[in-house]
Every structure is written in C-alpha cells, then in structure tokens.
Symmetry: C2
C-alpha cells in the first residue's frame, strides 16, 4: 500500500503546464472593440454570437468529418453572426474583423503568471484549436513568445477539441506522460475533456460560472491565472491532489 501510494505520488507530479489559448490566456471578447468600430454599440453582442458559433462550428465540423481550419470557422461564424443580427457585412469588413482575432489581447494577469512559471523552470505550451499561423500571430502580436516551449495546433490532426487525439498531441509534443502535464483552460468543456483524457486539470473560472456536466470535475478551480500560477508553484515536486 505505501509503495503504491509512492508510485501514485510520482506519477501525478506537474512537470509542464499546457494552456488553452482562446478565452484562457487571451480574451476573445477583445475583438468587441473592433466590432464596435464598424457597428457602434453592437460590439459585445456581435462578439458573443461570433464566439458561440465559432465553437459550435468547430464541434459540428469535427463530428461531420468536414474539418476546415480555425480561421475558416471564424470567418464562417462572423458571417452567421452578422446575418443573424441583421448587420450588413462586406468582404472588406469581414477581413478586418477576422484580422482582429489575430490581435486579441492577453488577460491582464497572463504575462505575470507565465513569467512566474518560467522562473520556476516549468516548461509551458499552448494547445489550441487555432491554426499554426493563428497561434503564432496571436502570440507574436502580444509579445509573449518568450514564455512558450511549444505552440501546438490541432491543424495536423484536422479535428478540433475535444477530440481525444488533440490532447494526445500535447503528450507527444511535450514528451511527457499525461499525468505530468497540467492542462489549464477557462473553457469548462475543454477542461472536462482534458480531465477525462487523464491530465490533471485547472479550470480558470473567471466569471464564477457553473462547470459543464460532462462526467468529470477539474482537479483544481481558480478565478484567474495569478492564483493558478501560485497554486502550481506550490504543487511542484509534490503529488497533485
């Protein structure tokens, strides 16, 4: 029994942290400002429908076996959002709004949290639905390149989260067992799937919302990335409870 526990402890040590990008490190609703320029007073409303449909299209297309990359799903979603909200969208406007998705802002607590983990020499990565180009540009445009060992896109799999193969990609690219990778997401469905996959998982619950009822619960829940970083530093070289 003690031997078993000892092995368990070793297995669940955090040796790396892998982050979701959209909504976790970066605020997707920072595009609302751009939407607002073109459709004054409607920015956040557009951004919300846009994000919801963007997610739906990634799930639906994955299930239909008709993958398109994240930029395409994002374009499709803004066309739907504008049609649904009776807003006239020209192709020029569409391009400018979609470009805003490549310049979304990190949350105010993102840089400091990444820096604290970097200083503790915890290898960091992003695992995102975004295409390689999208992830690279978002990270470049925010000046946070220094933080990450790996930027991992679903693109090579041609399927989106929460398909298990996506989470498996993080294991392969980090060259670590799933038990040793802390997966961090503010998207409850993503955190739930990651936990099912076998990652210890930290849910960033910024809005004090309910966790999705998908048959798993996160290992740990915090309200922002600062608290997450602090918690991770306290967990290093220990078993994740």
């Amino acid at each position: 029994m003690p031997v078993f526990n000892h092995q368990e402890n070793k297995m669940k040590q955090i040796k790396s942290v892998v982050f979701d990008l959209y909504g976790t490190l970066y605020d997707v609703h920072s595009v609302a400002a751009t939407c607002d320029e073109f459709f004054p007073g409607r920015g956040l409303e557009i951004s919300k429908v846009w994000r919801q449909k963007q997610l739906e299209y990634t799930w639906l297309r994955s299930l239909m076996g008709l993958y398109v990359n994240f930029e395409q799903a994002t374009e499709d979603a803004i066309r739907f959002a504008c049609a649904e909200l009776n807003l006239s969208l020209t192709s020029e406007l569409q391009e400018r709004m979609c470009n805003a998705y490549l310049r979304i802002s990190p949350y105010p607590d993102t840089a400091d949290a990444l820096r604290a983990l970097n200083e503790a020499e915890v290898p960091l990565a992003i695992l995102s639905n975004g295409s390689r180009r999208s992830i690279q540009q978002v990270v470049n445009n925010s000046g946070l390149n220094w933080a990450f060992d790996q930027l991992i896109s679903v693109e090579e799999l041609a399927v989106f989260k929460p398909h298990p193969s996506v989470y498996s990609l993080a294991e392969q690219r980090m060259n670590l067992r799933r038990e040793n990778i802390l997966f961090v997401s503010s998207n409850a469905w993503d955190a739930s799937a990651a936990k099912h996959f076998g990652f210890p998982t930290c849910w960033i619950n910024r809005k004090n919302g309910a966790f999705d009822e998908l048959g798993s619960t996160p290992t740990h829940t915090v309200s922002n990335l600062s608290v997450m970083a602090e918690w991770v530093l306290g967990q290093l070289h220990r078993e994740v409870v």
Copy 2:
C-alpha cells in the same frame, strides 16, 4: 446529355420523408411551462439554456467518444442550467422537469402536415438523437403514432447527429437511397449535415433566422410544416430542384 438528365431526375425523386424530432415536429420550449411551475417567471430562460446545453453535450460527448443517451444528456443539461442560473434543483424536481421532455408538444401544424403526406402515401419516419424510449414516448404521448413507418434512434450507434453514420441509418432503415429521402429539420446544423450527407433537405425556418455557415445550403426552405407538406406534394414523381 438528355439521358443523364433523365437519370438525375429519377435519382432525386422524393420517395420518403424523414423528420428530425426535437424543434422540428415538437416544440422543445413547451417544457418552459413545467419549468415555470417550479421557477415562476423563469421558464423560458431555463428552457433556452437547457436546450442549448443539451445540444452542446450531445456534440461534445460524441467528439469525446463518451456517449450517454439523450435522457442522460438532458439531465446533465438541466443540472448545468439550474447551477448557471443559481436555481436550486432537487432530484425530485430534476425528474419532473426531465419527464416534461417526454411530453413535449407537437407544433400546431405538425399533425395536419403529417396527415397530408400520409394521404399521399409517402412513407414517413423520425430520425432523432432521442433514445428509442424517448422517441416512442414523445410520439405516443402526442397521439401521432399513426403517422410514422419508422422511429429511428441514434442509440444503436452510440453517437449523435451530425455524425454521418446517423444519417446513414435512415437510408438503411427506409431501404432507400439518400437521393430519395427528403430530410426535414428546423435545426440548421442538422439540415446542413443532412445536405452534406446527400439528402435533399428542407429547412423549417420558423423564426426567420440565418442558416448555419457550414458549407452547404438546404434544397428548400420554408417557414412551417404546412408549407413543407404542400411543397413535398408538388414534388412527388418529379425531380427535386
């Protein structure tokens, strides 16, 4: 060229109509009345979050490879909805609310549309995410059993729409080629996937909404089931345009 067209015409004749159930023949928001009994004034709000999450959970679980049947997804979704809306849900209340999903009301135009197609001897079926039990009970409770040759549940596949295998099941069970089955849905994502699969597809756009941007357009769009039935009767023994 004329020979080719002639074959095309024969191939696209409607020989059967297969309906989606939830939101197409039956109004999912008829559960709002039951929700309202328990949470006065909040019925429709609950019903909307409940339905949205129910759909999301069917997509997410299908992608995660963690199928549960539709009743379970419905229970999971009402637990989320009440938690998200800060409403206290006892297990008794949950059971009573979920039972309301077995007694959802057909739309006012459902029975007449089915009758008109029956009289024209068009074989009809339901193809639904619901479990066999759910579909059977909804149809029984509404007294519409007489209308259908087949009630087809995704249950045997253990995956939900829009996975292509679900649409394939309708082909098998109706013993017809996809080109000869008109698929009718008011759920745009469902109609889009059915069209991709190869069914001529009629989208019931009750709310004058935008069609989902998933790379296909419905064969025909109408605002209700009466107009659909009239259109189908006009198409019989002809090519579907």
